[in-house]
Amino acid sequence: CTEKYAEAYYNRPDVQKALHANTTKIPYKWTACSEELNRNWNDTDVSILPIYRELIAAGLRIWVFSGDVDSVVPVTATRYSLAQLKLSTKVPWYPWYVKRQVGGWTEVYEGLTFATVRGAGHEVPLFKPRAALQLFKSFLRGEPLPKS
């Protein structure tokens, strides 16, 4: 329910002042989500896979991760989608470790790294903060996730 804490904190006038926020007195409360935008979303790409192909070709470093106890955009959804890219494998599937525990599993493809995060929900850093920080450090270094 941490979202509720945010709704309490970011609607405080002293917090908004300290953040230089809401300077134009927006005519609605600050909320974590905008229902109005969500209901009236105007245009959405049916698939992002063509953009992945473009950006892999452009040489960007691309990592995709998935918390494996999320059922909203679950790990099988991501795996079915990434499989359409038909990328060749550079480092075959292996368990990665954080603090001597299996942090998840990973495979390094040509142009993209995929990793699961064991026991994490939709917001991976919320549920598995230590594992998420390890994931981030490996991503920034451009190194495969630790094998032990």
């Binding site: 329910c1 941490t2 979202e3 509720k4 804490y5 945010a6 709704e7 309490a8 904190y9 002293d14 917090v15 908004q16 300290a18 953040l19 926020a21 927006i26 600050w30 974590a32 989500c33 905008s34 109005e36 935008l37 969500n38 009236n40 979303w41 105007n42 245009d43 959405t44 049916v46 698939s47 992002i48 953009i51 992945y52 473009e54 950006l55 691309i62 990592w63 995709v64 991760f65 918390g67 999320d70 909203v72 955009v73 679950p74 099988t76 959804a77 991501t78 079915y80 990434l82 499989a83 929900g121 939709h122 919320l126 903060p129 998420a132 920080l133 981030f136 450090k137 920034l140 451009g142």
Partner: protein, 260 residues
């Protein structure tokens, strides 16, 4: 420098003492409509002048606010239960990077548009355009980041925002004398492809014993996952699965009870 100084955060209410710098405020992305995006920068507390800049986006669409990434995931502070103060996040990502949280598009969080109709016709396209404009103009305000390594990161519907912004930056760089030093992006539990995401989702529900065989086969046989709008029969089956078979769970973390 004046604009940067005007955005400096001295301390947030109820915040513990920290050694890193913070800035927040607005960048106008469209003068005609009066659209401005709100950002919050929490610099790295180790070597902020050399660490990369990471721009974090949340999803929704319509939920890329500082409630998620900044306040309960990767940011340096967590908000306490009563909303009276903050405490430190031991695993904050600003140990190794300068974190820039962006509330996008206008209408989300503190980001706003003076043209109220903007809230009724914003989508992927405008979000990518405005976020690119934000980044270009933000870097004018913080010129020390102009040649810094930049990464994008996010989750959920930011599975759209992040690659679309990355593509917009690559296209901008092709024509610009001052390219943005974008090195890569990372997305989590990312909305990627309608058909395969939906197929993978119902497969996950079945393989994790959240729905019955009967419901699974009904979903597979009555739903056309290529469509944005499903048939009534499909919608009914989805509702039955969630209302009757899932049980009282948090769909974002299936082994936990929902937030009441």
């Amino acid at each position: 420098e004046e604009e940067e100084e005007a955005d400096r955060i001295l301390a947030l209410p109820g915040q513990p003492k920290v050694s890193f710098q913070q800035f927040s405020g607005y960048v106008t992305v469209n003068e005609a409509a009066g659209r401005a995006l709100f950002y919050w920068l929490t610099e790295s507390f180790q070597n902020p002048l050399s660490q990369p800049l990471v721009i974090w986006l949340n999803g929704g669409p319509g939920c890329s606010s500082v409630a998620y990434g900044a306040s309960e995931e990767i940011g340096p502070f967590r908000i306490n239960k009563s909303g009276s103060g903050l405490y430190l996040n031991k695993f904050s990502w600003n140990t190794v990077a300068n974190l820039l949280f962006l509330e996008t598009p206008a209408g989300v969080g503190f980001s706003y548009s003076n043209r109220s109709s903007d809230l009724l016709d914003t989508g992927d396209l405008r979000t990518a355009e405005d976020s690119l404009q934000f980044l270009i103009r933000w870097m004018d305000r913080f010129p020390r980041y102009k040649s810094r390594e930049v990464y994008l990161a996010g989750e959920s519907y930011a599975g759209h925002y992040v690659p679309q912004l990355a593509r917009a930056i690559v296209a901008y760089n092709a024509k610009s004398k001052h390219p943005i030093n974008l090195k890569g992006f990372m997305v989590g539990n990312a909305v990627t492809d309608n058909y395969y995401d939906n197929l993978g989702t119902v497969t996950y529900w079945w393989s994790h014993a959240m729905i019955s065989d009967r419901t699974y086969h009904q979903l597979i046989s009555t739903c056309d996952f290529t469509q944005q709008k499903e048939s009534n029969q499909c919608e009914t089956t989805y509702s039955y699965a969630m209302d009757q078979e899932f049980g009282n769970i948090d769909q974002y973390n299936i082994y936990a009870p929902p937030c009441n």
